[in-house]
Subunit: 166 residues, 2 copies
DNA sequence: CAGAATGGGTTCCGAAAGGGAACTTGTCAA
DNA sequence: TTGACAAGTTCCCTTTCGGAACCCATTCTG
């Protein structure tokens, strides 16, 4: 499989990775969630090569995750902001952060804590069912063909079908 | 920033990406969640170059996300299985999948649906607060220095601090 | 018993992507 | 007129990747 073919795979994970599956892209998006918006700021904070940054910003913009908003004319300057599609990556960010907090922090503990304003507690995210509200775990999920499944699609025949993908 | 330095950043997202931030790694893990365990199966299903696959499996094993379990002696054969640390990536997988379902499916809809056995509904994951149970969104979160924060650590001074990282 | 098959790699090559630094372009301020 | 600013673009060299071939211990097939 070549990388440009990823978005044509019948798999939502592969399609997502075709947009954000790059080494730098999620770090750029981290900065976006921190309200970093301008080329030079991204570069200084990340230490990314400028042409790589330009490439990632363009790809994210083309994908509709960021949009370029002019903040000054003459000379025209534009900044990058998360679109609704980009903001919708927040749950994925949170899940990756929580995993890092739990498994990649040394004995000192996580570098940053997130506090839920609504209840006032330091919190992490629990994925819960959009329908019944109960916490979800891998074993409680089954997969089935969706409306966009290819015609020749077969589900893997695992005894307890906990599949995550396609 | 060079890639090998990522895991030393004071940022749980960067640390997570040092393990799973690679193009192929999350696709390998997708297969793991589908109970794919053997070298040849990974290769055939993913179309990944063999030495890249060998490298990723080794890195994931070194990171404690997968473990090698012998399934036959003489000749010794081993397969790769998710550890508890690996299974804990399920919420992140779900979040990425749900995003792909919503934003990367064509008009036909998502290729696969996930059904929650417990309640019987086709569902997606909602990140909810581990403390109060309410759904979390970016605007309801603030960040603060954690126990593992570096001594020179300053929080960005954003008016409404919705930060996601560090 | 010879030869092919199996499973899990390693090696080699040319192509693509990345790191780092210098250069470009349009505008304004000193 | 020179310099600074902001956002790129270009160039060169190193690293990584895709693809194919090769390796090796064991076991199956004829």
């Amino acid at each position: 499989m070549r990388w440009e073919e990823l978005d044509r795979e019948a798999c939502s994970l592969a399609r997502t990775l075709s947009v954000v599956g790059d080494r730098w892209t999620l770090l750029v998006l981290r900065e976006c969630f921190l309200r970093i918006r301008r080329f030079e700021e991204f570069e200084q904070r990340l230490g990314i090569a400028r042409h790589v940054l330009a490439d990632r910003l363009k790809k994210l913009t083309d994908a509709g995750v960021l949009e370029k908003i002019p903040y000054r004319e003459r000379p025209r300057r534009e900044e990058y902001r998360l679109t609704e599609k980009g903001l919708a990556l927040y749950p994925a960010m949170l899940a990756l952060l929580d995993w890092g907090d739990k498994y990649m922090s040394g004995k000192e503990g996580p570098p940053l804590l997130r506090r839920h304003k609504t209840c006032g507690h330091v919190a992490h995210a629990v994925p819960s069912c959009s329908e019944c509200g109960e916490p979800l775990d891998a074993r409680a999920m089954t997969v089935e063909a969706g409306p966009g499944a290819p015609a020749d699609f077969f589900l893997p025949q695992s005894p307890s079908n906990k599949a995550v993908e396609r």
